[in-house]
Every structure is written in C-alpha cells, then in structure tokens.
C-alpha cells in the first residue's frame, strides 16, 4: 500500500456555528487505499467531521488538505475540481426521484465528461451491475427497496472512479444481509478501483468487515484510533464504554431474534 496522504485534517474545529461546536482540535490523516471508519455514538460529531473532510461544511478553525491542497482556501472552481475526484454516499441515498436508477448513475458522466451517450449509459449499467442492480436500471428510486437505493447511490458515487468515497452511515436502516451485501460491494469496488473509503458508522459489524483502521470520536474529540481489534481491547474511557454499549445492545436483542 502506498503511503501517499490524500486527506489531512489539522487542528479542526467542526460544527455549524460557534455556538454548536461538536469536535475541536481534531487531527486526522488518511492514506491512499485505506478503508477508514469513523465510529461514535449519536451526536458525537462523526457525520459533521465527514462533511468537513468532504468539502460540505467549512471548519470553524483548522485546515483540510485534500490531495495536498487546502480545500477551503482554494477558489470555488479548484474546489469543484478536487471534489470531482471524490464521491459521496449519503445516509438517505439522495437519489433524484424524477430519474431512473440508470439516469441517476449516468448523471455525473453526462455533466462532467464529454463521453458519448452510449458510453455514459453503458458505464452507468456497468456500475449498477457491480452492485447487482443492472436489472433494475429502468426503475425509479421509489420503485426499489431501501437497500437497493443505497446500492444505486453507491454506484452513482463511484461511477467516475473517484479516488476517495465518503460514506455517511452506509448500512443504516438496512437489514444485516443487505448491509453485508453493501459492505461486500464497497470492498469489491475498493479492490477493483483502489478506492480510499472513509465511512461514518455506528455499525461495528460493518466496521469489522471493511475497516483497515477505525477512529472513535466522542466528547468533542478523537478518543482513539487503530484496528478494530485494538480498539475493542482498549481500556480508554469512552472507547471501552462505546464498545461495551454496542456489545450490550447486540447480546440483548440477538437471542430474541434467533428463537
């Protein structure tokens, strides 16, 4: 794996305004080819951090370097160019209801390239095929299930082979089998395209499947980072508590579902 740094967050203060700072003093570095997950409870600021890194929410203080350039210091045109090298999978899929799945996936190709229409459609179909949705290409988002919408949104996020994919709660609202398929799709795309994936989640099972490295946020800061195994064995306050709560949740409902 190359050690090229793609994302560097330095002394970040994240939030929507000065009165609602959710993370402060955050330093984060993400290398090419890594799958990094950001873990934390509800309201811990993990999605806010993802938006800040992904160019959607300027930090209140600090800098974000994306591909070696200060994302929020460059002009709008340059920022757009940098962001075109990334893709985003939104928590609620953010597909356009007026377009078919193929139309949704082909949209970035049509808007950002001068490729002929037949190549744009074929590219969209191929990406839909990668997430096992080619047979539903003519359907509208309202005509498919939540898991299928998520996978279509993933196909759209990767249609132009971004170098980084930001995933906000990719498996939220999905049943375990569908969630596992989405994780599989992410890993498959990582293997094929050498993607760097940054995913925010509270699904520890998903983290175990996909993550090279995990970062736990809470109490307004990064509490710990490392492999999932390391973090699960951590004695640090906040980290141990987070995994303990997750384990408690898991063991409290699993037997009920198995009987």
């Amino acid at each position: 794996m190359s050690s090229e740094l793609l994302v560097v967050g330095h002394e970040l203060r994240c939030g929507y305004d000065a009165e609602s700072v959710v993370l402060d003093g955050v330093d984060i570095r993400i290398e090419r080819g890594e799958v990094v997950t950001i873990l934390g409870g509800s309201g811990s600021g993990k999605s806010t951090l993802l938006k800040t890194l992904g160019g959607l929410l300027p930090p209140l203080a600090g800098t974000v370097e994306l591909f070696g350039e200060d994302l929020y210091a460059v002009d709008d045109a340059r920022r757009a160019e940098l962001l075109q090298r990334t893709g985003t999978l939104f928590q609620h899929d953010a597909l356009f209801g007026s377009m078919t799945l193929r139309g949704n996936v082909a949209l970035p190709v049509e808007q950002l390239t001068d490729l002929p229409d037949e190549i744009a459609d074929r590219l969209a179909d191929t990406k839909l095929d990668l997430v096992e949705l080619a047979h539903l290409a003519e359907r509208f988002p309202s005509q498919v299930s939540g898991g299928q919408r998520k996978r279509a949104a993933l196909a759209r996020a990767v249609v132009l082979d971004p170098e980084i994919v930001w995933c906000d709660e990719p498996t939220s609202g999905l049943d375990p089998i569908t969630a596992a398929r989405l994780d599989h799709s992410l890993l498959h795309l990582r293997d094929v395209f050498g993607l760097t994936i940054v995913a925010v989640t509270h699904d520890v099972e998903s983290v175990r499947t996909i993550a090279d490295r995990a970062i736990v946020v809470g109490c307004g800061a990064i509490l710990a980072e490392g492999t999932v195994t390391e973090l699960e064995q951590s004695e640090l306050a906040g980290v141990a508590e987070f995994f303990h709560r997750v384990e408690l949740e898991r063991t409290s409902w699993q037997p009920e579902h198995r009987t």
Partner: protein, 373 residues
Amino acid sequence: MHCPAMRVHVEQHGGTAAIGLAGNVTRNDGRELVTLFRKLAKRHRLRAVAVDFADVERLDSAGALAITFGCQALADAGKGCELLHLSDPHRAALEMFESAPATPEPPSRHGSVERFGERARGAMLAILGMIDLVGRTVRAIVRGLFGRQRLEIGRTVEQAVVIGVDALPIVALLGALIGVILSFQSGYQLQKFGAEVYMAEIVGLGMAREFGAVITAVILAGRSGAAITAELGTMRVNDEIDAIESMGIDPVGLLVVPRVVGLTLVQPLLSLMSTAVGIAAGIGVSYMIGIAPRAVFYRMQEALVIDDFALGLVKSVLFAWIITFTSCFMGLRTRGGAHGVGTSTTRAVVASIVLVILVDSMVTTVWTVTHVQ
C-alpha cells in the same frame, strides 16, 4: 500523485497499427479514444490494431470502456484488436465490461389505442377515487357531528385562516382589477349607443353572478389548492400518511375534513368581498369615463336582486368543494418523491381550474334556462 494526461502515439506498418498509450487514461480521454478507434476501423488496408499499455499509469473505468467500445468497433469492421502489457489493475478494469450486460433496448411503446385505453382507465379510476374520497369525507363529518369521531375544530379554524385570511389582499386586488376591466370595456362600448348607464348591469351582474366567485376560485386553486396538494403529497411520499393509518387514525378525518370545511366556510366570504370590491372599482371607473357614478349606483340597486348574490354564493361553495377535493385527492395519491409531488400539484391546479370553469358554465346554463322567461 497527479496526473499526467494521456498521450497517444499511432504508427501503422502494413496491415497492422500500433497504438502506444501513456499517462492516465481517464474519462477526459474517452471521446478521443473512441474517435481514434472508429477512424482506424474505417481504414481498408488495416487488419489489426495492437494497443500497448506499458506506459499507462491509471486506467479508469470510463477510459477502459472507451477502449472496449473501440475494440468492438474494430471487431465489427472485421479487424483484430490486441491489448499488450496490461497490468493487473488495467486488466481488471477492462474485464469489468466483458461481464457486464449490454444496455438493454428501451421497451417498445404502446400504440395509440392502448395509450387511449390506459388514459381512459386512469381517468375512470381517478373519478372513482374522487367519489370514494367525497364519501369518506361526508362520513367523517357526519360521524364527527354525532360525536363518533373527533371533530378537528382547531385544525379547521387554522385552515380557514391560512386559506382565507391570508388570501384576502390578493383576492381583493384581483376583484378590483376585474371590476375595472369590465367597466372600461362595457362603458366605452355602451357610450357609443348612449346606453352607458347599462354598464351597471354588466359590472354588477357580472361580478355578483360570475366573476366574484370564479376569480376567487382561480386564485384559491393556484394558491391554496397547490399548497394542499404539495403538503399532502409530501406527507404521502415521506410515509407520514401511512404512519397516521398505522396508528388507526382516519387520515381523511384528520387531513381532508379540516381543509374541506375550512375552505367551504371562507370561500363564499372571499367571493362576496371580491364582488363588492369589483363593483366599487367599477363605479369608480365610471367617473373616469364620464358616466355619473350615482346613476350607475342607482341602476345597480334596481338591477341586482338577492338571487344574483345567492347564485354567486352557491357557485363559490361548489368551487370550494371542487378545489379541496381535487387538491386533497391528488395529494393523497402522490407517488415517487419530489418529482411526484410536483406532478400532482400541477395536475391538481389544472384540474381544479378546468372543473371550476366547467361547473360554472353548467350552473350558469341551468340558471339562465330556468330564470329567464
């Protein structure tokens, strides 16, 4: 990293062409590659093309697909295409398109007879759905009056205020403008025959019987009807209405009845106000075109009877029902996200206005036939 642009070198020796690719072959290069391959496919003496990937750094899927299309174009022209020195990532990117299904042909469209049949069936289902909604609304009101269902008085008052009070300025303005237009058009024409005082009939009867009610209905269809459809449609696509039903609450009683009753209460009042303002504006204009306002006023007192205002009020109640039932019906049957909400809203406004004009013409015809000796 970033990002040496693609460089292409083409050489032809006899029947074989060698394409040397270098740098990053990406989405920005797809069109150029396809064009190059298609040109090569047209060369008569060419039998095969060899594409050398030795100096390619990055090959994205759009670039790989362009090469796949290019090789296909060569194959279609009976020429060979060989890919040399592929690295594993390049090979993986190209193989992706070998296994992917081709884009299917769009399904064939139905003929005109089938389309007409589908539309007729859709219209019939819409009429039945509307009748069902009216029935459920009447039932909910009756059950509410007899205490068997909660009567949403607070919501009804809220709707009456939102629909009625907030629309006062625009209804008054348009009523006045219609009065002005009627006065100018009729006054000048009648002056030619020395019959200018009869503009009182045209303005008075026109506003009381027709324009007061119709113009109010058109405004409310565009303003309040669209808002009702958009609100209910958004609730539908966000599963909020399913949530109401799942709680065992009647969505018609909760959402439709307050809007129907609210508009039924305020629309006649708005129509009356529109009529009054229109008549006042017409009398004002008569002064401007040299007709004594007092004469026009007295003439109106003689010409207008209570039945004329009653006709306007009856129409306004009918229009209120048309607008609310159409808007609620379109909102409740919305499907398909933001696009569906937009489509339903447009349909609701158009259908409301068409039905208002249609019913107006029918009522006017019946009234005229039965009241004019």
